[in-house]
């Protein structure tokens, strides 16, 4: 019988809703949701990925049974009971022999709020704060910067407020490719229909940037210079919001002094963007009454990413574009539940509700709820875990829905580290570059094969219903984790009879989600925007009455220019950067298995500027060798006029992180993915 089931899209963080249509428990189609007002995708709009959001799960490559490694690269099917017994005995053995710090856990932006809550609880119940997810790799700099200045990192306003903005800024962000529905329903309408001025900053003129009134095209990772000069210009020319600064901001005088040396000409020299254009951007920004500032990885995925995001947050503050209707800024996680994994404390230094592990009072409160002690020292961050595994201090990994062997910088080193680990559990829906190193592989249910909640980048928590039967013996992640905990002898802390039980516990432990109960979310299908203090309330706009800081004011942090990680020199004269394609997603674990996507977005390539190409004697479609200090690859080029000269950029889905450097930002530990120095040579023949 044909049925339809409401789910949240399992790709990006916009949180689009759709109906999955099934025949006898098997997914056969998608229908657009035009009957629930207030969802993130008005009228049920979907991008190419959303349009076939069930397709990947029907792939023949699915993991359907627990597997045990019997020889390198050889796995044998085992029962769930055998898998649980093996995991329990090996993990307890390693913990006993080397201590709990030898255990490391990875949660996932592609799993539910409940799954993530349980994996960090499991890590902590085992005595380890070594628990991370890919949020470290893409948004941590944003989160650290905004938390330091504003006291809170998430997006400030509902997406629909973008429609009310008179200036829209996209900084290092191409939502036409990464969040097409957000772009089409809010950003593009603000620009084309409502007449907002549009400033875009990107090394590539993208499908988003093509609409810009002011387009800045800097070298990757030099954005900090531009923003610092803009702050200086705005203050010098009295274009800042004095009233707002007086009432709501600390540290203005220090800020003004610190940027004095950062002239437009200085920024031009570093960034390669003309002083006139930077001035125009500064004037346009400052003259806006309501400025929506959407900044993403082009700005913050650098070793100066936190500094750049702090400077941009300063600029938002001194122009008074926060704490009111019609503005917008805040973190934009990559995947559909990045916000949820982050809020659940899948973080080596934070507990659920963004409580620092070192915060004694906050920690004790959670300990009382859980009934066991939580280690009071932060664990290892994502990149450091693999360094520790290589050195030998981390001995075991429990990996849920992550692919570090492809996603981490200097990925060849990561694979060596995985080889050295004594025991690895990988819980996933498909074999990946990472699962091949696992000792035990557990088959997980795909997103629409189970129920659960996810939180969009816009702070909207929504219930996603079970639509189809799981493949083979696959189980929902939360159920697997509860089973593992029980096998490890921690059953009394993990006594859940349904996913509702897990969310109900989250409602008690995380005050921001107190009112987001299973009962409410199953009835209120558009979900609600956290913080929600009870079942009737939600919070569409943050900071309307000041900031969550001790004195209620935001604390400006003065920028100090630092270059991005590895910059070009005589030997490696090109900037190597990366971007995303609209029809692929992250390392392709899902999108490569989706035929309609794989047939259209088929392989990696590199964009190169036509003038650079001419110099190198390279034509469109030729192959080049791209070489960094780590390694080299051969790739076909697309010669285009609209990428910055001196920059070569590749979509990162097909994996070239063996070329990138493992340097991380001091403050946030985000890797500097977006810049590496490289040399390029034509491949003959």
């Amino acid at each position: 019988m044909r049925k339809k089931h409401l789910i949240t899209c399992p790709y990006c963080s916009v949180g689009c809703r759709m109906y999955v249509e099934t025949e006898d428990g098997y997914p056969v189609g998608i229908e657009y949701v035009d009957d629930i007002p207030g969802i993130p995708n008005p009228g049920g709009k979907l991008c190419p990925k959303g349009n076939v959001a069930f397709q990947y799960a029907t792939s023949e490559d699915r993991l359907t049974k627990p597997l045990k490694k019997v020889a390198p690269g050889k796995f044998q099917e085992i029962s769930w009971q055998e898998a649980m017994d093996e995991i329990a005995s090996r993990m307890n053995e390693i913990k006993g022999k080397y201590g709990p710090e030898a255990l490391a856990f990875l949660g996932s932006e592609k799993c539910s709020v409940e799954d993530n809550y349980l994996i960090q609880k499991l890590a902590r119940a085992m005595g380890s704060n070594n628990v991370e997810f890919a949020g470290r790799l893409c948004q941590s700099s944003n989160v650290v910067a905004r938390t330091k200045i504003l006291g809170s990192a998430p997006q400030t306003n509902p997406s629909s407020d973008i429609l009310k903005a008179d200036v829209v800024v996209l900084w290092g962000y191409n939502p036409a490719a990464t969040n097409p529905v957000l772009f089409g329903q809010y950003v593009e309408k603000a620009i084309l229909d409502n007449g907002a001025q549009f400033i875009a900053v990107d090394a590539i003129k993208t499908q988003s940037a093509k609409y810009a009134d002011v387009f800045l095209q800097p070298y990757p990772g030099t954005d900090l210079a531009i923003i610092s000069a803009m702050i200086n210009y705005v203050i010098k020319n009295d274009l800042y919001d004095k009233d707002f600064v007086d009432k709501h901001v600390n540290g203005f005088d220090e800020l003004a002094k610190s940027v004095e040396a950062y002239s437009l000409k200085w920024a031009e020299k570093i960034s390669g963007v003309s002083a006139d254009l930077i001035e125009e951007a500064a004037r346009t920004f400052a003259k806006g009454e309501r400025v929506a500032v959407l900044a993403n990885e082009g700005l913050n995925q650098h070793v100066n990413g936190t500094a750049a995001m702090m400077a941009l947050t300063d600029l938002v503050l001194i122009t008074g574009n926060i704490g009111k209707e019609g503005v917008m800024s805040g973190a934009i996680p990559g995947a559909f539940n990045g916000m949820g994994a982050s809020l659940m404390g899948v973080n080596c230094a934070q507990l659920p509700g963004a409580i620092p592990v070192a915060n004694g009072e906050g920690r004790r409160q959670i300990e009382r709820a859980w009934g066991f002690e939580i280690p009071d020292k932060p664990g290892l961050h994502y990149v450091a875990m693999f360094g520790a595994a290589y050195e030998g201090s981390v001995k075991a990994f429990y990996i849920m829905g992550q692919n570090p062997a492809r996603a981490l910088p200097d990925s060849a080193f990561v694979e060596k580290a995985l080889e050295k680990a004594e025991f690895i559990v990988a819980q996933d829906i498909f074999p990946t570059e990472t699962t091949k190193y696992a000792d035990i592989i557990l088959p997980a249910a795909a997103w629409h094969e189970r129920a659960g909640t996810a939180i969009s980048s816009n702070r909207r928590i929504q219930w996603s219903f079970k639509a189809a039967d799981a493949a083979g013996e696959a189980k929902p992640d939360w159920e697997i984790l509860a089973g593992v905990a029980k096998a490890l002898g921690l059953g009394k802390h993990f006594y859940y009879s349904s996913i509702d039980d897990v969310l109900s516990e989250v409602n008690k432990v995380v005050p921001a989600l107190k009112g987001a109960t299973p009962q409410r979310l199953r009835g209120e299908l558009k979900g609600c925007m956290f913080p929600c203090s009870d079942e009737k309330s939600e919070t569409p706009r943050l900071f309307l009455k000041g900031f969550p800081t001790p004195d209620g004011k935001a604390n400006l942090i003065s920028p100090k220019y630092a270059p991005p990680g590895e910059v070009p020199d005589d030997e490696y004269p090109f900037w190597l950067s990366n971007f995303r394609l609209v029809g692929q997603f992250h390392t392709g674990t899902m999108s490569f298995k989706s035929k309609s996507l794989a047939d259209r977005w088929t392989e990696g390539f590199a964009y190169i500027n036509e003038q650079d190409a001419r110099k190198l004697g390279v034509n469109d479609g030729d192959s080049v060798k791209v070489e960094t200090r780590r390694s080299a690859l051969t790739v076909k080029v697309e010669v285009i006029p609209y990428i910055k000269r001196g920059v070569i950029s590749m979509p990162w889905h097909w994996g070239f992180n063996f070329l990138t450097k493992d340097a991380v930002d001091d403050l946030s530990k985000i890797p500097g993915y977006k810049t590496a120095a490289c040399k390029i040579s034509k491949v003959r023949g």
């Binding site: 049920g44 490719a177 097409p180 089409g184 499908q207 309609s596």
Partner: protein
């Protein structure tokens, strides 16, 4: 007058949601997005001509206009002769390899029968694709342009 899919190419970001939606509904896509070096994108599907050469040349009357004006095919009548392929000025009709009959956009006849819009139109994230009668689409465009001229 008949209804058609129109593209406002200024809004199109080339995301191919229309192609993928169409492929999901019909097994293969009957709409195609063309991308140009200046970052312009144009999606193109059957124009459902008022005076349709394909309908006119079909020797077995397999092609006709339905009540919305869509040019649709009766696959049981089609003999796969490709006369429509020759006649179409746009190169729209294709012959399905398996069934040996012509296939092309039918403006989602099944969806329209349920009161829904064609999948490509409903899906389009930027509302670049619109479904309607040509005069209505033109009027909206005219109004937008003129209101821009007089400063709204």
């Amino acid at each position: 007058m008949s209804k058609k899919v129109f593209i406002d190419y200024e809004r199109c970001i080339g995301c191919k949601a229309c192609e993928v939606a169409c492929e999901r509904e019909h097994g293969e896509s009957m709409i195609k997005v063309f991308q140009f070096p200046d970052l312009t994108n144009v999606s193109f599907n059957c124009r459902h001509c008022e005076n349709a050469p394909c309908v006119n040349v079909c020797p077995v009357n397999a092609l006709s206009h339905d009540t919305d004006g869509a040019v649709v095919i009766d696959p049981l009548r089609c003999i796969g002769c490709s006369m429509c392929v020759l006649a179409c000025p746009f190169g729209v009709p294709k012959i399905n390899e398996l069934n040996k009959v012509m296939v092309k956009c039918d403006l989602c006849a099944d969806r329209r029968a349920e009161g829904k819009l064609p999948a490509c139109v409903t899906s389009c994230p930027t509302e670049a694709l619109k479904f309607g009668e040509v005069d209505d689409i033109s009027l909206v465009k005219e109004e937008t342009v003129v209101s821009g001229l007089v400063g709204r």
